[in-house]
Point group: C2
Chain length 443, copies 2
């Protein structure tokens, strides 16, 4: 008998790779944080002697979900500026709140709240863009969460840096120690958008990104207005500015990509660009609906993201999976567009590919980190079960997540947190609310 | 001190009428199934001596949600025909399954599963269209659920009736004993759609509906194809056929209404027609997106429905509220379209109006039935709280429902069912799954 740290025996297991496969009565063995075997349950019971045995008779085991785009700390702004036009939301709601309140302490507390919410909903990896990325990384490491920490870059002064040079310097610092080859943290560059950076800054950023071999993610073609203003001010669409800066390649993650021409889609596909689709946020801010069936048909890799909680307002990848599949059907006038299997891929392996971590996470395969979630399908809303993947995507909610592991470390056990002190997290979130509210509606 | 059966002391209370009001530290007193007072908590504590006291410090008390359109028994077909084109879904998936499996027993078991799921998610009233409506009504009464039971009417033979005359006879029987003036059950007529009934049948139905004073609900303009085929076959749009039959009036509930001209919207508004918007189902079957901001602007009353679980796949009104608000913003290119307050109205009082039960349910007001739900906003995904209604609509899920009362009877207590035996309900659902699966994928 071979020893293993944890042996999980779920009713079903969806490895995601190969696509559409549902294993019944299989076991997943974990040792030293990694998946060491995915084999029939009977074989596992006789072959492995586990330190911890987890049996789940109504549950499906899936790769931990990957939130390919968020601003974690903004959970502390959740719901403070809803039902407002986009311009007012930014100028009267979010930006004044950020100028007044963003600090290392706020980012730490907001990121912890976000991480706890994400783990509760089966997310085991998130890609973050926010001020104080060094604090985001610290919080993720302290809470044992996997994260792609992208340093924001803009041309203007904020509380965190003065100009593009300083942002890029901070981005470079983060790439080196302590996060070179860190088991949980990957770093990236996040130029905010084409309207926030000059061509000069883009060129400097591209040179650095090439030197350091880091990936780049940017809000792109999120609104029709963004494209129009770019054309007016520069004579180019945002996409063209990236192209001219040499940034349209397989290191690029285009976040949102709501308003894209057929030609742009084709060029993105040829270049190997990934798209982070954030359907709930795009609806809520009235940005539009990204044509992801076209993206999939063109061979583009699509990931899913929640965006920040100020524009969603939940960090819930079950909601994004379902929304992505449903919206694609209506906008393509085709009920077969983006199947449950495809939506699940976007929320797992597609996300890993978009973030450049597909060698180590995003599917249940021997050798990868044990980033896993079990989902209870025994609830009223998920019964009866004819098709496990359909039930997972179309008839399940984040609260049905029962167990979560990140790199083999147990985070959630039958819905209870194993080591994050959520009472403390909620208490600090409430203190921030009181502080902001006392100051007169956060401004 | 006045006696009352139940005194509820939630942190917040949203009566829905008046719109947008959030009461803090108020109490709701219940006696003989009805709300007898909505008053400040301090006053209630000294003024009422309750048999049962319910204190909820993190919770918001709302009117029970109203699911204005479903086919409850179809929960037993949940997920058996997903990601299929609409025609194949009907012809290869749903209709063969119905021909083979629909029976009094199946309707009873499927309706019980649906009722349990709905109550778990804070729904206290549902409007149903399905075969064996007498069994639906029986199940609702036995489980103490409020229901509008609409008898289906079509021209063709099914396992339940042979022709329009027989459907209408059965519909008439249901209006009389035992459901005349029943505290829980209201009856209605449900001609399936204009393609399922001749002009003759519509005329007979209208005469009967007028005589008996019952309301009419019909699937209308659900797909572009439905409108085209009607034009081709009859020279009229479905709406025009209803108009000619004298059915366009304030007794009419138009279900779906995805594809409506501006003129039709205006005529509906003038006539006082209500619309049952089923956004998740309309997306999943690729029917389209109903322009509900236009409906609201025209003064039409909009209700929300889940549709059946074979096309949704959850009976979750939180999902519908959120989806209605989000979709309206994107399709109207206006982030202020359908606010959280408006979406909550659609899911409660708007639903009651659409079903003709607004005098007795749909809001928290003295004299109405105590149809209530408490929702726990103390969860990670709903914190912090700046705006209670925003948090409820944009950042809460059905699983946060903690307590539910229908007509004052307690159904859910801190998430646990008080009297429905959900293990038995799930066991029967599983038996149906086995039976259908053994028979070779339900056909």
């Amino acid at each position: 008998m071979q020893h293993c740290d944890t042996l999980i025996l779920p009713r079903w297991c969806i490895p995601v790779n190969p696509a559409g496969q549902v294993l019944e009565n299989h076991a997943v063995a974990i040792t030293d944080g990694r998946i060491v075997a995915v084999i029939p349950a009977a074989e596992a019971r006789t072959g492995f002697q586990p330190s911890v045995l987890v049996e789940r008779e109504n549950h499906v085991l899936i790769p931990g979900l990957i939130n390919a785009h968020t601003h974690a700390a903004m959970t502390l702004f959740r719901g403070l500026a809803d039902d407002m036009p986009l311009e007012a939301w930014l100028h009267e709601g979010i930006w004044p709140a950020e100028r007044r309140w963003v600090s290392a302490e706020m980012v730490r507390d907001g990121t912890e709240l976000a991480i706890a919410e994400m783990i509760r909903g089966g997310i085991t990896c998130f890609s973050d863009q926010y001020f104080y990325p060094e604090i985001v990384a610290e919080a993720a490491v302290d809470l044992s969460m996997r994260a792609v920490v992208a340093t924001p870059v803009v041309d203007f002064r904020t509380g965190w840096a003065r100009n593009a040079d300083e942002y890029l310097q901070k981005a470079t610092d983060l790439v080196h120690d302590p996060y070179a080859d860190h088991p949980l943290i990957t770093t990236a560059f996040a130029p905010h958008s084409t309207f926030a950076l000059s061509d000069e800054s883009f060129n400097a950023l591209r040179v650095l990104a090439d030197q350091l071999d880091v990936r780049v993610q940017i809000h792109l073609h999120e609104t029709a207005n963004e494209v129009e203003i770019s054309l007016r001010d520069t004579g180019k669409r945002p996409y063209e500015r990236l192209l001219d800066a040499g940034l349209v390649n397989r290191s690029l993650l285009a976040v949102h990509a709501v308003h894209m021409s057929d030609e742009e889609i084709e060029r993105f596909a040829q270049a190997g660009v990934s798209v982070a689709h954030c359907p709930n946020s795009n609806l809520k801010l009235a940005s539009g609906i990204a044509p992801i069936k076209k993206y999939a048909d063109a061979g583009l890799n699509v990931a899913l993201g929640t965006d920040g909680a100020a524009s969603n307002n939940m960090l819930d990848m079950f909601s994004e999976m379902r929304m992505a599949a449903l919206l694609a059907k209506a906008t393509a006038s085709d009920a077969t567009a983006v199947t449950a299997t495809e939506a699940l891929h976007m929320a797992t392996l597609g996300g890993a590919q978009a973030l450049g971590v597909e060698q180590t996470t995003g599917s249940i395969e021997a050798g990868k980190w044990a980033d896993l979630a079990s989902v209870n399908l025994g609830t009223l809303n998920s019964q009866p079960i004819y098709d496990v993947i359909s039930q997972l995507v179309y008839a399940s909610r984040a609260d049905q997540v029962a167990d979560v592991w990140v790199g083999g470390r147990r985070h959630l056990e039958n819905g209870e947190f194993a080591h994050i002190d959520t009472d403390a997290v909620l208490a600090r979130s409430n203190e921030w609310r009181e502080r902001m509210t006392d100051a007169g509606k956060v401004q």
